[in-house]
């Protein structure tokens, strides 16, 4: 099996995997970062979203072979101690029910707010539309993204 060097959360990590292995499974099964979740495997639910060079992407769709030389950030690396404004907002609003989709939601929201720190309600809704929450905590997700934007503005 080929060896790939991935830059994850600021550290170089080597993985021995077949070239078609999705980043999602390299993270979960080889590197031991299980915060990134498997939901659908076809890029429809957003549970596996991570940042690649600052953009939120579905890690179930991208093979490891394409990830060398890119800056990958997972939920574990979003902040050192869970204090990223989006994480803080998520805690304050108490968003999760089952909690499974939340890492993906947070990664989508944080990448979105990096690009648009002062979004309208409709922009928040559009940005988060790709992430499914089966518990349907959408009211709180929307509220937490708006709160995170406020925190970032301070």
């Amino acid at each position: 099996m080929p060896t790939y060097t991935l830059k994850i959360n600021g550290e170089d990590r080597s993985v021995d995997v077949s070239s078609d292995t999705p980043l999602l499974w390299a993270l979960r099964d080889h590197i031991g970062l299980v915060g990134t979740k498997y939901g659908c495997g076809i890029g429809q639910c957003g549970a596996c979203n991570v940042h690649v060079d600052g953009n939120a992407i579905q890690s179930c769709l991208v093979p490891v072979a394409q990830m060398e030389g890119k800056e990958i950030t997972t939920i574990e690396g979003l902040s050192e101690d869970g204090t990223h404004p989006v994480q803080e907002a998520w805690k304050e609003v108490d968003v999760p029910q089952c909690g499974y989709c939340q890492a993906g939601q947070i990664m989508t929201a944080s990448s979105f707010l990096d690009k648009n720190p002062n979004p309208t309600e409709d922009e928040i809704k559009s940005a988060m539309h790709g992430n499914i929450c089966r518990c349907a905590a959408y009211n709180r997700i929307q509220k937490a993204v708006a709160l995170a934007a406020e925190k970032i503005a301070k």
Partner: protein, 723 residues
Amino acid sequence: MSTTISNSFSRRAFLRTSSLAGGGMLIGFNLFTACKNEAKMPVDIASLNFNDFNAFIKIADNGMVTIYSPNPEIGQGVKTSMPMIIAEELDVPWDEVHVEQGILSTKDYTRQVAGGSQSIRHGWDALRQTGATAKQMLINAAAAKWGVDASECTASGGVITNAKGETLGYGDVVKEAAILEIPDEVALKDPKDYTIIGTDAGNVDIEKIVTGKPLFGLDYKTEGMVIASVLRPPSFGKKLESFDDSSVRKMEGVIDVIRFGDFKGGGDKIAVLANTTWQAMKAKEALSAEWSDGTPMESTSNHDKLLTDLLDGTSFNTLRKDGDVEKAFRNADQVVERTYGSPFLPHNCMEPMNFYADVSANKIHLVGPIQTPERTAARVAELLERNSEEVHLEMTRMGGGFGRRLYGDFVMEAAEISHLAKKPVKVVYSREDDMSAGIYRPAIKYRIKAALKDGKISGYHLKEASINSNMYGLIPNFFPAGALENYQVDVAKYDSNITTGAWRAPYTNFLSFAEQSFFDEIAETLEIDPVQMRLDMLQKVKGTTDERIQYSAERMEDVINLAVEKSGYGNPKDGVYQGFCAYYCHNTHVAEVADVLIENNEPVVKKVIVAVDCGIVVNPLGALNQIEGGVVDGVGHAMYGNFTFKDGAPEMNNYDRYRLIRMKEAPKVETHFVKNTLSPTGLGEPTLPPAGAAVSIAMKKATGNRMYRQPFVENMVEKEIIG
């Protein structure tokens, strides 16, 4: 004012205490039953076996309190709200309380199940009394130490104070308290003195959730564990004829390929074992198998016909019959009959089904997300012909339940594969596996017929035709039962190969839509206000002596009036179309008003106003989350949920073809609680059933189209929207 309560079963019998070897006091208690005489308290935390007790509280000698929470957490928040109730009566600061999930080791764990929104309702008395008893024992120990009467001492915030103002922390007296006699009676707090119950407590796992810590079954891992991906029959009813695994065995990471399913080395499933999840999934996809048709393959079009035939036929069971509906129909001024249809629905928990099993010579170790640990552990023991004492089942946090994780089919699979492979194995479903090997909400049709006379409903006959099973328990006694002189509920079912089971708010999730839409149409026919029609009907229920009627006319009036007041029902703003629904299920009374607008020539559900009577609200923050989720889930599945079969196989198996509600479609949910001090009832389910009904009635006003089938989105394309 506090109340002194002794239980119907003696306190002595449902809780016990002991000293811990390493220091501290341990309280073991049972939520719904007495302890067995031979029940023994463990002396260290490692041997909490939950054999004789539902749950334990440890009070350490530094005063820290750890609750080994009994109930599985599926996102409904009981891991937070149940310990809140104990902490309230024990009188300790909430931030000094830690909660750990109990580990199941035997089959005797009473109601260790998350389902039916019953966790809080059933636990309310026992949890309060356990907390209050522990507090009294600590006070008694401190009083003895001071040489004063216990009645001169008070306790609050984990500190005991005597008349002189001297204080002792709980931790200072745990050693003495642990060996005291358990008091026969203890005082419970007056709800107005609550400092924890009724306050907002966040999810206990929130820090771990937002930082991506391993919590879920899919995150669980042990040394030497392999992943199993399972090829199951592609259609319900097909049998495995043969398979060729020669090329699959050569694939990277593949360890073994095992036929299983009957616990005898045969069966209709094939497990592909590999080192990693991706390798296992890929190899399973590459496996080729031949299947035979055992029975005719079912499809949605023949289900549709079969259910209609059942409704047209005579093979019904009568679940409730009051008066004489036939006579009412003969004497009616007018008869209205409508038929409502719903599809199968998959649960679609975001965390696909998975379970870990390590079946070895003297122990069966099971780990993962399951709503029914005790039943499942017993079934594994039975199927592997092992002693139930050997089964150790550990629960993880669950990435959703919705009823799917009541069923242990995936645990059985993991146990059988581990048994055959002689290895620790984790079975992992792909999304496609999860959606196509489901235990679905059955497709159902209701036909409702009402006799109208003198401007009122004089007879009501509801018929249910369902796949595999029918409504059960008290459902036939829900409103309008008790409100009508002549009332009858009949059910019939068709036995299918397709596996079906409980789905969030079983039966009522669709029955509510059918009945409440029907009432709206009746009110329209009679040219009366639909809300007033409900209120008038409820009058007959007041003071009923019929014990089957468990909903309360008064509590129903309260939620109806509150929903009307808060939504401005009857006087909507320009361009807003409102649909009203009131419903009782899972012991909770709910009324909802949906606001629908027309945007870009399409009806849009903007807002749902909810009035809820669930008694005392233990954790408002968690309660609101359940209510909001229940409503949006109810709207989502009524609008979009469609799951069809062809040749025995589901026609959709992932989110590209199966539509779940998303952010832009989610209405804003505005919740109002009826304030009272009645015992709390659950919230995981009751707000879901009314949502679809409220939306469909608002849609009717907005578009002129009345919905008789779910999902609505399929109906909406058929007719021109009038706006």
